[in-house]
């Protein structure tokens, strides 16, 4: 293992200290692990709080700022934050207009955010929640914990964040967040496993020359393993898996997301193939974002997220945003 770290125990705190130094618009509480936009609470605006395991950067701390999240709570690597963090974040950002928790569908995140909601409500803070569950690789049924939350988290945080910035009330911001999630689907592919600092070796075994189709953002296996495919073949598989689950109806937002160790040269090439498949299937593309946004440490690979979008959602997507990782219009 060769990692640019001191010791595994302090990787999250070290990263937070580095973030604080790089982004003066953020208030970073390293001890309690809460990242807050410096001008919070913003009077009259619903606040958005998200969080989850570390190792997915820039998600979520990199999305804190005007037009997107009010605060983020990073947990240990691949481990959900604890309720104290979320409750602390909610108290720091609530202006009285309420707080929307954006939660990815993992058992730990769900349980901890539920407990945090109780704590915050005890303090008189109005809390609503949007659960993100967009990953079509693992199917929902009576017997599973449901679909995982992955790339659509970015769409929910951006679009609901824009609605909040406009001063829309909590129930409306929540409804928009739910709508974005309901309209979004993702599919991920791993070309290599990731290595957590604590374990120091790959979290799963992916032999050379094979790839994992339908991988999760913690390197959890998905649908199946196959011999290596071309970028075009992978795009066909991923986009078709999404469209099979969500027949196209409206123009889409496209996120071609890197898992952390795949260079932009490959991601742009992969995006060309994704756009080709969408064109072949007659799906109009409204906007496209390519880059490393919802990563999985040093895993190589990519995911595709599509969000069917109407005029209002597109307007909110285009609204100004100013965060470390996403920034336009201001």
């Amino acid at each position: 293992m060769r990692m640019l770290i001191n010791v595994p125990e302090t990787v999250v705190a070290d990263a937070l200290r580095g973030m604080a130094a790089a982004y003066p618009d953020l208030t970073v509480d390293v001890e309690h692990r809460v990242i807050v936009r410096r001008d919070a609470p913003v009077a009259g605006q619903v606040a958005l709080v998200s969080g989850g395991g570390s190792g997915h950067e820039p998600l979520h701390g990199g999305f804190v700022g005007p037009g997107m999240l009010s605060a983020a709570c990073p947990g240990e690597v691949f481990t959900s934050p604890v309720p104290d963090q979320m409750a602390r974040a909610a108290a720091a950002v609530d202006s009285g207009a309420g707080v929307l928790f954006i939660v990815k569908n993992y058992t730990g995140d769900v349980l901890n955010f539920d407990m945090a909601a109780e704590l915050a409500q005890d303090e008189g803070i109005q809390v609503a929640k949007v659960l993100v569950n967009d990953d079509v690789a693992v199917t929902d049924s009576l017997y599973t914990a449901g679909r995982r939350g992955t790339g659509a988290t970015l769409f929910v945080e951006k679009i609901a964040g824009a609605a909040a910035a406009e001063g829309q009330p909590l129930e409306r911001v929540e409804a928009i967040g739910r709508q974005v999630n309901a309209n979004s689907r993702s599919f991920g592919v791993a070309l290599s496993a990731c290595t957590t600092p604590a374990k120091g070796s790959p979290t799963f075994d992916l032999p050379d020359g094979e790839l994992e189709l339908g991988v999760g953002i913690h390197g959890e296996p998905g649908r199946e393993r196959r011999p290596m495919m071309t970028s075009g073949e992978i795009a066909d598989f991923a986009v078709n898996a999404i469209l099979e689950d969500m027949p196209p109806r409206d123009p889409v937002l496209v996120l071609v997301n890197g898992m952390g160790a795949t260079p932009l040269l490959e991601l742009f090439g992969f995006n060309a193939e994704v756009q080709r498949v969408l064109a072949e299937r007659g799906v109009a593309v409204a906007r496209t974002l390519v880059g490393n946004y919802v990563t999985s440490l040093d895993m190589a690979g990519a995911s595709v997220t599509l969000c069917q979008i109407d005029e209002e959602l597109l307007r909110l997507w285009d609204a100004p945003v100013k965060t470390p990782a996403l920034r336009w219009g201001m």
Binding site: E76, P83, G108, N112, T144, A198
Partner: protein, 199 residues
């Protein structure tokens, strides 16, 4: 009768075995989870031991409520709320008694296990900590050694199961053949009772 000191020894014994077995728990968590169960529980029980030292609760119930609160505040993941709820609910059921009998403890622990089932939505056979905890509670009437054996057997019995809850459930059939890390750590917790009884 079991006093606050017994419950402190229970937590200390569990903390020691989690420390010893952290790597094994993490290994078990690699193929079907995300390889952090050992390190997370280790962090949690270290915090429990530190809190018990500073706050020195003097009833069995207070020891367990404090321990549960510490686990929720430090472990994260699903294990934090689930283990935290187990100990908090058990502690609350014990009330403010200075000493409790084994039967009363068994009833309280059953309360705690019910709390875990409700929070996580899991039942026996879902390949979770319930598969170790439920048999252990059922065997508690026959003593701590019987409870430990039941928990260990329950944990081993998760190997052929397909996970239906938690992150391993995303694997579907590929979760078969692996012992559940949560059931394994639950067996360590129950084994801690026997160790505490031996002093």
């Amino acid at each position: 009768m079991l006093d606050a000191d017994f419950f402190r020894r229970w937590m200390a014994a569990t903390a020691a075995s989690v420390d010893r077995e952290a790597e094994r728990l993490t290994q078990l968590d690699s193929p079907i989870g995300d390889a952090d169960h050992g390190s997370n529980l280790h962090r949690g029980f270290a915090a429990v031991m530190a809190a018990l030292e500073t706050e020195a609760p003097d009833t069995p119930g207070a020891v367990l409520v404090l321990a549960g609160r510490q686990l929720i505040s430090t472990v994260g993941g699903a294990s934090g709320p689930l283990y935290g709820t187990l100990l908090r609910r058990t502690g609350k059921a014990l009330g403010e008694a200075a000493e409790v009998g084994v039967e009363q403890f068994a009833a309280a622990l059953r309360d705690g296990v019910e709390g875990v089932k409700k929070l996580g939505g899991a039942v026996a056979g879902d390949k979770t900590m319930i598969d170790a905890l439920e048999p252990a509670v059922n065997a508690l009437g026959d003593g701590f050694a019987a409870a430990r054996q039941a928990a260990e057997q329950g944990a081993e019995a998760t190997i052929p199961l397909q996970a239906r809850k938690g992150r391993a459930s995303y694997l579907g059939e590929r979760s078969i053949g692996h012992q559940d890390p949560g059931a394994t750590s639950s067996a360590l917790l129950i084994a801690g009772l026997e160790a505490a009884a031996e002093g």
